[in-house]
C-alpha cells in the first residue's frame, strides 16, 4: 500500500513542482543548498541526538527501579501511558501557561528577582521541547523496557548470584545483553515518536518558531503551503534514506533482528 506513493515521491523528486519537466538531481541540489532545510536538519539532528539517548537512559533507569517493586508497578501502571492520551491541545496549553513570557516559570523567576524570559521565543525553546518530548514518551518507554526485563529468564540471575556476581556485574553481563533486542525496538519507536513532537512545536510557536526549534516538519509544511512539491519530494527521499541508515545502524548495534527472531 505504501510502495506506490513512495515510488511517486521518488519520481516527483526528479521533476519540476507540477511534474511537467524532468530536472534530474536539481531538486536534490536545491534542497541540500537550502539554508532553511539545513537549519531544520541540524535542529532535528540535534534534537534526536539529545533526546533519544536521554529518553532511553532515563526510561531504562526508571524501569530498573520499578522492576523489582511489584506493588509500585501496579500502582503506577495506569500513569505510564497517561501523557500519551492527553490531547495535544491540552499539552500546548500547559506549555504556554508555564513557559510564555508572563507564564508560571517567569513568575517564579520574578520571585527570585530575575527578569521574565520568553522561554518559547529564545534558545530555551529547544529545551522546552526536549522536556515536552521526555515527559510524553518516558512512561511508554518504561513499559517497553519492563516488558524486555520480564523476558529475561530469572535462572540467569540465580546462576550468576550463585557464582558470586555483584549487582553491577549482573546488570553488565546479563541485563544489558538480554535487553539488546528491546533496545532496537525502543530506539526505533523513540525515533518515530521524536518526529511527532512537531505537533507541539507547531501549535506552540506556529509556522516560524524560534530558530532553535525550527524542525524538518516546519520546512516541509511550509514548502507544502507554497506548493514546493519538488523540494518536499527530494527532501522526503533524503530523510527516508537517512532514517533507513539510522535504523540499520541501530539494528546492527542492538542485534535487533536476531533478537526479534
Amino acid at each position: 500500500m505504501f510502495l506506490v506513493p513512495t515510488a511517486d515521491v521518488v519520481r516527483r523528486s526528479f521533476f519540476s513542482a507540477m511534474g511537467n519537466s524532468f530536472v534530474g538531481f536539481d531538486n536534490y541540489q536545491t534542497v541540500l543548498a537550502n539554508r532553511s532545510f539545513r537549519l531544520a536538519l541540524s535542529n532535528t539532528g540535534r534534537f534526536l541526538v539529545v533526546c533519544i539517548p536521554l529518553l532511553l537512559a532515563l526510561s531504562l533507569a526508571v524501569a530498573l527501579l520499578l522492576y523489582r517493586q511489584r506493588r509500585l508497578q501496579d500502582l503506577l501502571r495506569t500513569t505510564y501511558l497517561m501523557p500519551l492520551v492527553v490531547p495535544v491541545t491540552s499539552v500546548v496549553l500547559i506549555i504556554q501557561t508555564v513557559f510564555q513570557k508572563n507564564g508560571l516559570l517567569s513568575a517564579l523567576c520574578a520571585a527570585f528577582g530575575k527578569a521574565p524570559v520568553d522561554w518559547l521565543n529564545s534558545e530555551y525553546a529547544f529545551y522546552v521541547l526536549v522536556i515536552c518530548y521526555l515527559w510524553k514518551n518516558l512512561g511508554y518507554n518504561v513499559v517497553l523496557w519492563l516488558a524486555g526485563l520480564s523476558a529475561i529468564p530469572a535462572s540467569l540471575y540465580e546462576a550468576a548470584r550463585m557464582d558470586g556476581a555483584t549487582g553491577r556485574q549482573r546488570f553488565r553481563y546479563i541485563t544489558l545483553p538480554q535487553l539488546r533486542p528491546t533496545l532496537f525496538m525502543t530506539a526505533v519507536l523513540a525515533l518515530i515518536n521524536s518526529f511527532k513532537v512537531f505537533r507541539e512545536a507547531y501549535l506552540v510557536a506556529g509556522q516560524y518558531p524560534h530558530t532553535s526549534i525550527y524542525m524538518l516538519q516546519h520546512v516541509l509544511s511550509n514548502w507544502f503551503t507554497n506548493l514546493d512539491m519538488q523540494k518536499i519530494s527530494a527532501a522526503a527521499v533524503l530523510i527516508m534514506a537517512a532514517i533507513l541508515v539510522i535504523v540499520a545502524v541501530v539494528q546492527r548495534v542492538s542485534g535487533g533482528k536476531e533478537g526479534l527472531e
Binding site: S16, A17, M18, G19, N20, N34, R35, S36, L39, N121, G206, Q207, Y208, T211, Y214, V219, S221, N222, W223, F224, T225, N226, L227, D228, M229
Partner: protein
C-alpha cells in the same frame, strides 16, 4: 482440492465482475450516448424600475400582477424641505413592455409620513391594502391597515380591534372573502382578521415556535415557523391544516406566497421552492447559489405569483429592485458544463458575478467553494494545503480567488494561466491597477477590487507619507502638536501599520535596511510619544480594554485619530486602507475641517479578490468568460456600499459620482462636542478619483511574515530589545523565511 477450487471460482467471479463494471453500458456502446436533456427552467431577470422625472431614488413597497402585466408600487422621500413627506407611485409594465406611471393619491393622503415596514398588497379582486406601523403619542408601536377598494383613487384606514393586538405588520395576505391574515415577525404571531380588521382568531404553529412570516390567498393561509422547521397551510374553509416540513437555513428570512390552489411558494437565500397542495416534496424552482437570492445583501421583501400560465411567473422584490423568474422552455434544465471557483474566504464580487454569469450562460453550472466559511474549523494553512493537493493532482478548481494564497509561488510553478488575452476582451478596467500586475509582459492575476491606504496631511506634510524616512522627519519636525496621535498609535499598532505600509524594505532581509527601518520607526515612536497603551486622551474609550482597543485600531484606526486631530491634538491622520466613498466620509469631513489634503501612502493600493485561472482547469473557455464577467460592470457596478473600490472603470466612475444625502454619521469628540460627517462632496470624490489614478504599487501582505515582524519591531520600540538585538533577530527570522 476443494479449497483451491473455491478460491479459483471466487477469483474468477471477482475478475468477471470487475471487467463487467468497466464495460460501457449497452446504450452507450450503441453510439447513442447523449442522454436527452430535460429542457426548461426558471430564468432570472431584473425589472428596471421606471425612473421618475426628477430621478429621485425609489423604494419598492409592493407588487401587483395581472394578465402578464406587473404593477410596482414605489415611494420616495421628499426630504427635509418637504418635512420628510413621502410620495407614492405605481409603475405598470404591460405584457407588451409599455410603461405607465401614476401617483397613488390615496397613499399620498393617508400615509404622508409613512412609517415602518410599509407594504402594499393587492388582493385577487384588485383591492389594495397598505400596511405599516408607527409610534403613537405614548411612544408605542401601532399597526395600520389602509385599504382602497376603487383601484387606488380613494382609501380609508381600517379600525378593527385586531389591529391593537399587533405591534407591527411584517406579513400580510388577503383571502378570497376579504378577510386578512396579518402577522408580526417581532411578536411571532399571525392573526386572522375580518374585512374590517376585527380579530377572528390567532393562527398558530402549535408548539413549533414563533411564526416569522405568513401569506394568504383564496381559502388558504400559509405560515412559517423557522424553529419548528415547518410551513403550515390552513384551509380556512374546511378548518384543517397541513404541515410541510422544511429545513430552514441559518439566518433564513423566508417569504411565502400562496397560489389560488393552495400551492405554497417559499423564498429564502437558498432559492425558491414550491410545494404542491397535498404533495410530499418541495420542488426547487430557483437555486439561490446561482441567483440574486443568494447574494449577501439581498433580503426578499415580498413575493408575487402571476398564475396566468402553467408555469407561473414569480416576482420578488428587496425594496431596491424587482426580480422576475420566468419559465423558459428553451434553456436546458441541467447544465452541461461545470465551472469550479475557489476562495479562502467569501467574496461578494464573485457571488455577484456568479449570478450575472448564470443569467447569460445557462449551460454552465458554477460551483463556488469557500474554504473558510462560518462552519469551517481548520486553519488557513490547512485549506491551502488541501487546495495544493488538488492542484498537484490536476483536479483543482478552474478559477482561483488568490487572496491569502501563495500567488508568487503559483506563478512560479506555472499553475496560473496568462490572462493577457482574456483581459483584452474585458470591459475597460482601471489601467494603472492592471499595469501593476504585469510580469514580463504577462498577467497571471488581477484584482477585482482594491482599497487605498490614505492619509490626511496638513499643509507642509503632503509628502510625509511617501516613505518612512520622510515620515520620521515630519514627525520630528512637527513641533508642539505631534504629527500623529498616540491615542491610536501604541508600540504595537505603530509597528503594525509601519510594517504594512513601509515594510517592503524588510522583505529582502538586508541588515542595513532592517536597521534603517527600525531607526526610523523609533524616531516616529519617540516623536509622537508612543507608549504600550492605546486610547490616551479620548475619554469615550475608557470602557474598552486594551485588547479591545487593539482589535479596533488594527482594523479601523481612523476614528481615534480623527477625534484627536479635530481636537487639535495631532496634525495628520494615517488611515487604514479605504475601499469605498462611503468609507471615506469621516476622513473627508476631518480633512475639510483641518483644511488638509488627502494623499496616498506612496502610491500603494491593497488588491482584493485577486483572480487567476488554473492552467490545468477543464473549462478554460468558460473560465475566461467568467473572469470577464468578474471584471464587468454587471458584477462590480451598482453597489455603493461595497467594501472595495471596483476595478471596472464604469463601476468606479459611478461610485465616485454617486451622491447620497441621506447618510450621515456622528460621534462625540473628546471635548463633548459632536463630530458629524456627510457623504463626501463632489470635490472630495474627484480628489479620491485623481488619487486612485496615481496608484501603482500593489501592497501584497504576507500575514505570517507580518506577525513575526510586528512582534520584533514592537519589542524594539518598547525597549525590550536593543537595535542590534532586534536587527539580528529580524535578520535571522527573515533568513529562514526567505531561504525557504
Amino acid at each position: 482440492m476443494m479449497k483451491r477450487f473455491l478460491a479459483a471460482l471466487l477469483a474468477a467471479c471477482m475478475l468477471t465482475g470487475a471487467l463487467a463494471g468497466c464495460k460501457p453500458k449497452a446504450e452507450e456502446s450503441a453510439g447513442n450516448t447523449a442522454v436527452p436533456m430535460t429542457a426548461g427552467r426558471y430564468v432570472e431577470s431584473e425589472i428596471a424600475l421606471p425612473a421618475l422625472a426628477d430621478g429621485a431614488k425609489q423604494m419598492v413597497i409592493g407588487m401587483q400582477t395581472e394578465a402578464g402585466a406587473i404593477s410596482i408600487f414605489t415611494m420616495i422621500n421628499l426630504g427635509e424641505a418637504e418635512g420628510w413627506r413621502y410620495r407614492y407611485f405605481r409603475h405598470t409594465i404591460g405584457a407588451d413592455g409599455t410603461v405607465t406611471t401614476a401617483e397613488e393619491t390615496w397613499l399620498n393622503e393617508l400615509a404622508p409620513f409613512g412609517g415602518n415596514e410599509m407594504r402594499v398588497t393587492a388582493a385577487a379582486d384588485g383591492t389594495l391594502y397598505m400596511t405599516f406601523s408607527d409610534f403613537d403619542a405614548q411612544n408605542q408601536l401601532v399597526a395600520h391597515i389602509l385599504v382602497s377598494r376603487d383601484g387606488g383613487k380613494t382609501g380609508m384606514e381600517l379600525a378593527g380591534d385586531g389591529l391593537s393586538d399587533l405591534d407591527s405588520i411584517t406579513s400580510f395576505g388577503v383571502l378570497g372573502d376579504g378577510s386578512m391574515a396579518a402577522g408580526s415577525f417581532y411578536s411571532g404571531v399571525l392573526l386572522l382578521l375580518d374585512a374590517d380588521g376585527n380579530r377572528v382568531q390567532e393562527l398558530t404553529s402549535d408548539n413549533r415556535g414563533p411564526i416569522v412570516t405568513g401569506a394568504a390567498n383564496g381559502n388558504f393561509v400559509a405560515l412559517a415557523a423557522i424553529e419548528g422547521n415547518v410551513v403550515r397551510v390552513y384551509d380556512c374553509t374546511s378548518k384543517t391544516y397541513q404541515d410541510y416540513a422544511f429545513s430552514f437555513s441559518e439566518q433564513s428570512y423566508p417569504q411565502l406566497a400562496v397560489a389560488g390552489d393552495g400551492a405554497v411558494l417559499l423564498v429564502d437565500n437558498t432559492g425558491v421552492y414550491r410545494h404542491a397542495p397535498n404533495g410530499t416534496l418541495w420542488e426547487k424552482l430557483v437555486d439561490g447559489e446561482t441567483s440574486t437570492l443568494g447574494l449577501p445583501n439581498f433580503y426578499a421583501g415580498s413575493v408575487r405569483i402571476d398564475e396566468e400560465s402553467a408555469y407561473p411567473a414569480i416576482y420578488i422584490d428587496d425594496v431596491e429592485r424587482v426580480l422576475a423568474y420566468r419559465y423558459d422552455p428553451t434553456v436546458t434544465a441541467t447544465a452541461d458544463k461545470e465551472l469550479t471557483v475557489f476562495s479562502l474566504r467569501p467574496n461578494d464580487t464573485v457571488r455577484q458575478a456568479i449570478v450575472a454569469f448564470s443569467r447569460v450562460r445557462s449551460d454552465v453550472k458554477i460551483t463556488y467553494t469557500v474554504a473558510m466559511d462560518n462552519a469551517s474549523g481548520g486553519t488557513e494553512q490547512d485549506y491551502i494545503k488541501s487546495l495544493n493537493t488538488e492542484l498537484i493532482a490536476k483536479t483543482g478548481p478552474d478559477i482561483l480567488i488568490l487572496d491569502g494564497l501563495p500567488i508568487d509561488s503559483y506563478i512560479e510553478k506555472d499553475v496560473l494561466t496568462d490572462l493577457t488575452a482574456v483581459l483584452a476582451g474585458t470591459e475597460p478596467m482601471q489601467e494603472n491597477i492592471r499595469a501593476a500586475f504585469l510580469r514580463d509582459g504577462a498577467i497571471y492575476a488581477v484584482p477585482t477590487g482594491f482599497s487605498v491606504p490614505m492619509a490626511v496631511a496638513a499643509a507642509g506634510t503632503e509628502t510625509a507619507f511617501d516613505s518612512l524616512p520622510k515620515l520620521a522627519d515630519a514627525a520630528e519636525q512637527a513641533g508642539d502638536v505631534p504629527l500623529l496621535t498616540n491615542c491610536a498609535f501604541s508600540f504595537r499598532t505603530l509597528s503594525l501599520y509601519l510594517i504594512q505600509y513601509y515594510g517592503d524594505a524588510l522583505q529582502n532581509g538586508d541588515a542595513a535596511a532592517v536597521e534603517a527601518f527600525l531607526t526610523d520607526a523609533k524616531r516616529i515612536s519617540g516623536a509622537i510619544g508612543c507608549t504600550a497603551l492605546l486610547g490616551a486622551g479620548w475619554d469615550a474609550l475608557g470602557d474598552m480594554s486594551q485588547d479591545e482597543l487593539y482589535e479596533m485600531c488594527s482594523g479601523y484606526i481612523g476614528m481615534p485619530q480623527i477625534v484627536m486631530a479635530v481636537g487639535n491634538e495631532a496634525r495628520d491622520i494615517l488611515m487604514q486602507p479605504m475601499g469605498s466613498v462611503r468609507a471615506c466620509m469621516e476622513m473627508t469631513e476631518a480633512a475639510g475641517r483641518l483644511n488638509a489634503s488627502i494623499v496616498s501612502v506612496n502610491g500603494q493600493f491593497v488588491p482584493a479578490g485577486m483572480v487567476g485561472v488554473n492552467k490545468a482547469g477543464k473549462e478554460t473557455e468558460v473560465a475566461a468568460a467568467f473572469v470577464r464577467m468578474l471584471l464587468s460592470y454587471d458584477a462590480q457596478g451598482g453597489n455603493q456600499y461595497a467594501e472595495q473600490f471596483p476595478v471596472n472603470v464604469q463601476a468606479l466612475k459611478e461610485m465616485l459620482a454617486y451622491q447620497n444625502d441621506g447618510v450621515s454619521s456622528g460621534m462625540m469628540l473628546s471635548d463633548g462636542s459632536e463630530f458629524s460627517a456627510e457623504w463626501p462632496a463632489k470635490a472630495w470624490r474627484e480628489r479620491i478619483g485623481a488619487l486612485i489614478d496615481t496608484l501603482d504599487k500593489p501592497l501584497l501582505t504576507d500575514a505570517a511574515l507580518q506577525d513575526m515582524l510586528q512582534a520584533e519591531v514592537t519589542a524594539y520600540l518598547d525597549g525590550s530589545n536593543t537595535l542590534a538585538q532586534a536587527t539580528e533577530r529580524i535578520g535571522s527570522m527573515l533568513s529562514t523565511y526567505l531561504s525557504e
